[in-house]
Symmetry: C2
Subunit: 198 residues, 2 copies
């Protein structure tokens, strides 16, 4: 997979692209400890989108890895995880946004975050900001305290070169970022690489 030419998402930015049914998308953390928020929409009807609520319900798990499908809001499988060298990703939290930075970080002139980057990248596909749900946040490490329910955004477990590979179960529009939140990426902003194959 890594012999194929990769594309690069610069730090604190995002991209959108299509995947055909059967194609694979490999998301690579080239330097380690960098999160990539992923969204996937049915390319032929973008009102259908990945759903954390359906996926976690059917998996009976909040942490997904190799073998797990990502279901849509219509309970169809949009993607399957087919390789995963990390095994810790988040599917609870929405992409960071200007409001995230204002509310959690207290920023007065906040960056537009993964939310703004995804909204801009997905706009040419006719996808509106309000339609952006909880993303599958590759490499994001969100431990949950079972007793209190407290969640923490901890350093990703990914090391340089780690990757997670998805196979498209239908034709998709995909949004992908190099995450813009300091805490999610252990204090620094790094690029994300990705490869489309098949």
């Amino acid at each position: 997979m890594c012999s194929e030419p990769h594309r690069t998402i610069a730090p604190r930015s995002g991209a959108a692209f299509t995947l055909d049914r059967g194609q694979r998308l490999t998301v690579i953390d080239p330097m380690g400890e960098q999160v990539a928020d992923l969204l996937a929409f049915n390319r032929h009807d973008t009102a259908e989108v990945i759903s954390s609520g359906r996926t976690l319900d059917y998996a009976s798990r909040i942490y997904l890895t190799t073998g797990d499908p990502l279901y849509s809001n219509r309970s169809n499988v949009l993607l399957r995880i087919v390789e995963d060298t990390v095994g810790r990703h988040d599917f609870l939290l929405t992409p960071c946004s200007a409001e995230t930075f204002r509310i959690i970080y207290g920023d007065t002139d906040p960056h537009r975050g993964c939310f703004g980057n995804l909204a801009a990248a997905l706009a040419p596909y006719g996808i509106l900001p309000d339609a952006i749900p909880v993303a599958f946040n590759c490499f994001m490490n969100v431990p949950v305290d079972a007793a209190t329910g407290a969640l923490t955004v901890a350093a990703p477990l990914s090391r340089a070169g780690d990757h997670v590979t998805f196979e498209a179960a239908t034709d998709l529009v995909v949004g992908l970022t190099a995450c813009s939140a300091l805490q999610s990426n252990n204090g620094s902003f790094k690029p994300i690489h990705y490869v489309i194959s098949g």
Copy 2:
């Protein structure tokens, strides 16, 4: 609150209604161990809806209770929890649906579930099924194993007469159910009562 006349949602059904800013909605479990899925939309622009991903991120907790706001997909507060006699609700899972019953329970002729009940109740407000996100599932008890991420749908902690009260931070359309999934309600289907005050 309980001296005011309540309305009843019959077992395995749902309702939708409006709340004005400042009004309170009390959701009562009259028999105990019965879940009620709640959705709230900005009445003046129903593309704005409660967001589990934003709310859990800002709360840094998956279990919400008295004092916690429910944020929208635009990071505005739509509701605040102002009273809660139980302290255990779910905000991870989507409403049960025909697909839930097929995929998880193996039903061949499935009930339409809370999803179908909400879709039918919200249709007169112009809200489409695809716009139904993760609901705030009153009284639903979903413990998470911190090490593996495994989640279980356990018996609700609510006893007869327990309630949770929300205050509307803006004008809302609300959808509310008496949940239709056996496992969520410890094996039987019961009604839900609610009171609107203020």
